[in-house]
């Protein structure tokens, strides 16, 4: 399907029709006992990372909505913003079900790399040109969908978890479809526009954001989950999927940011690449020295997470 024929209005209608709520799920259904103490200790940090990556991803869609090329795509991004928030809320509710939250049910404290990502999104998210974020987000979603969630579903047998992720995966499939159709739309645009937008990506805050925020954030997560037992082959498959879907349409390949991120993704999954020795590992170490205090208070969106299906 080419960009010119994709029906975004139809997609928006499908998104509206497929809405689901945390209130549809019986959070007290049997199966929570399948979460053994050993598994709980192993999965707690993983779930915390997952909740935060969805929550930060949600904020990314909020920025994309500000840049959307048409009102329909803007509306779709507004729904995706809410849906990513829903996924974070649902994952938090799973953590609550499994006894991974404190007595008050507070969300887990984000690590310093997540805090840096929040800071950068607060300060610059809305000014990053469309091509940058529109390329980054599908890469994150392929990784999330293709590796992290598959890993979780293999480790955990709780039927409620599987029910929740049937909903989440069906949402994510639509997100990935739209993400790549928007890339097609951008790639099909006039060359001068692509050049201008790509040149605009060379602003210091974008480059520094990529090196200081994105690189260590992803690397820390990558090493954490590989240490937990995720086969590296799964990461490889996820990034391959990004390249495969991207090469399906005729226009995506015209976007320089797509090639840059594809190349970086290839280095991220290959642990022997000098990228890790020379850039990513030192950045993980360096950012671990950043005191949370200098980052200031994040904006109020970070407080919108909740595990309660019903608000009164």
């Amino acid at each position: 399907m080419s960009a010119t024929t994709f029906d975004f209005d139809q997609m928006l209608q499908t998104i509206k029709d497929k809405q689901w709520s945390l209130a549809d799920i019986d959070w007290d259904a049997p199966g929570a006992e399948t979460m053994t103490d050993e598994l709980r200790a192993k999965m707690q940090p993983f779930m915390a990372d997952l909740v935060w990556i969805e929550h930060v991803g949600a904020r990314g869609f909020a920025s994309l909505a500000k840049k959307a090329p048409t009102p329909t795509i803007k509306r779709i991004y507004e729904y995706f913003h809410a849906e990513e928030q829903k996924h974070a809320n649902a994952e938090l509710a799973l953590m609550k079900r499994w006894g991974m939250l404190d007595a008050e049910g507070n969300p887990p404290e984000p690590n310093v790399n997540v805090k840096l990502a929040i800071k950068v999104l607060d300060d610059y998210g809305d000014t990053i040109p469309l091509t940058g974020l529109a390329t980054l987000i599908p890469l994150l979603e392929c990784a999330l969908d293709g590796a992290l969630v598959k890993f979780l579903l293999e480790e955990v047998t709780d039927p409620v978890c599987h029910e929740v992720f049937r909903h989440i995966n069906s949402d994510e499939a639509r997100h990935i479809t739209v993400d790549f159709q928007v890339l097609e739309l951008i790639g099909a645009g006039p060359l001068h526009k692509l050049v201008i937008e790509s040149a605009a990506l060379l602003q210091p805050q974008v480059i520094i954001g990529l090196i200081v925020v994105f690189t260590p954030l992803i690397n820390k997560m990558r090493d954490n989950i590989v240490a937990m037992g995720l086969p590296e082959q799964k990461l490889y498959n996820a990034v391959k999927r990004f390249a495969t879907i991207g090469s399906r349409g005729p226009h995506t390949a015209r976007i320089p940011a797509y090639h840059v991120l594809k190349a970086q993704a290839a280095m991220i999954i290959d642990r022997t690449s000098p990228y890790h020795r020379l850039l990513a590992d030192p950045m993980v170490k360096l950012t671990s020295f950043v005191p949370a205090k200098v980052l200031g208070r994040p904006q109020a969106w970070v407080d919108e997470l909740t595990h309660e299906p019903i608000a009164s």
């Binding site: 500000k66 803007k74 809410a82 809320n89 109020a300 019903i310």
Partner: protein, 165 residues
């Protein structure tokens, strides 16, 4: 203008459509207002005065001017932006109250009370898309069901088939 108390939605409480909320007291009740900014700006300050709790589902913000200033058209939006900046301190709330510069075609409306009403402690601004009314209240796309006693649908929300079918 619709003036009716609809019972056509899936909600088991009271639904007020169009201007049916006018002159009503909501003492002790929790109320959801579903309306774009230009309509919510009229409804919310009145409802906040009497209701116990107000949830404002405002999917689309609009520019508001605090006073009927005799401004040329080009200055109306910057003035509205300044007014928002001065009245709302929280940047995330401000972002959700800022209309899209490209797609919002509505002229700034004169209303000086909306931002103050939204910042009352018993008032919450919710900008997630609303997709259904259920027996207990309002479902929005962040996956949460918001329970209320009464729902006010602004004039454009009252036309929505998905909410009033």
């Amino acid at each position: 203008m619709t003036v009716s108390t609809g019972s056509t939605s899936g909600f088991r409480g009271e639904v007020l459509c169009g201007t049916a909320w006018r002159g009503r007291a909501f003492t002790g009740r929790s109320v959801a207002v579903i309306a774009p900014g230009r309509e919510a700006a009229v409804i919310v300050p009145e409802v906040v005065r009497t209701a116990r709790q107000v949830k404002v589902f405002q999917e689309e913000p609009d520019w508001l001017l605090p006073l009927p200033l005799p401004l040329p058209r080009v200055l109306a939006r910057p003035a509205a932006r300044l007014s928002l900046r001065l009245q709302v301190r929280d940047p995330w709330t401000r972002r959700r109250l800022t209309p899209d510069a490209r797609f919002n075609r509505h002229r700034p409306r004169v209303d000086g009370r909306y931002y103050a009403a939204l910042q009352e402690p018993h008032c919450t601004l919710i900008s997630w898309p609303v997709y259904a009314l259920v027996p207990g209240g309002v479902r929005s796309a962040e996956g949460i069901e918001h329970h209320v006693d009464c729902i006010i649908l602004g004039e454009s929300a009252a036309q929505r088939e998905d909410l009033c079918a």
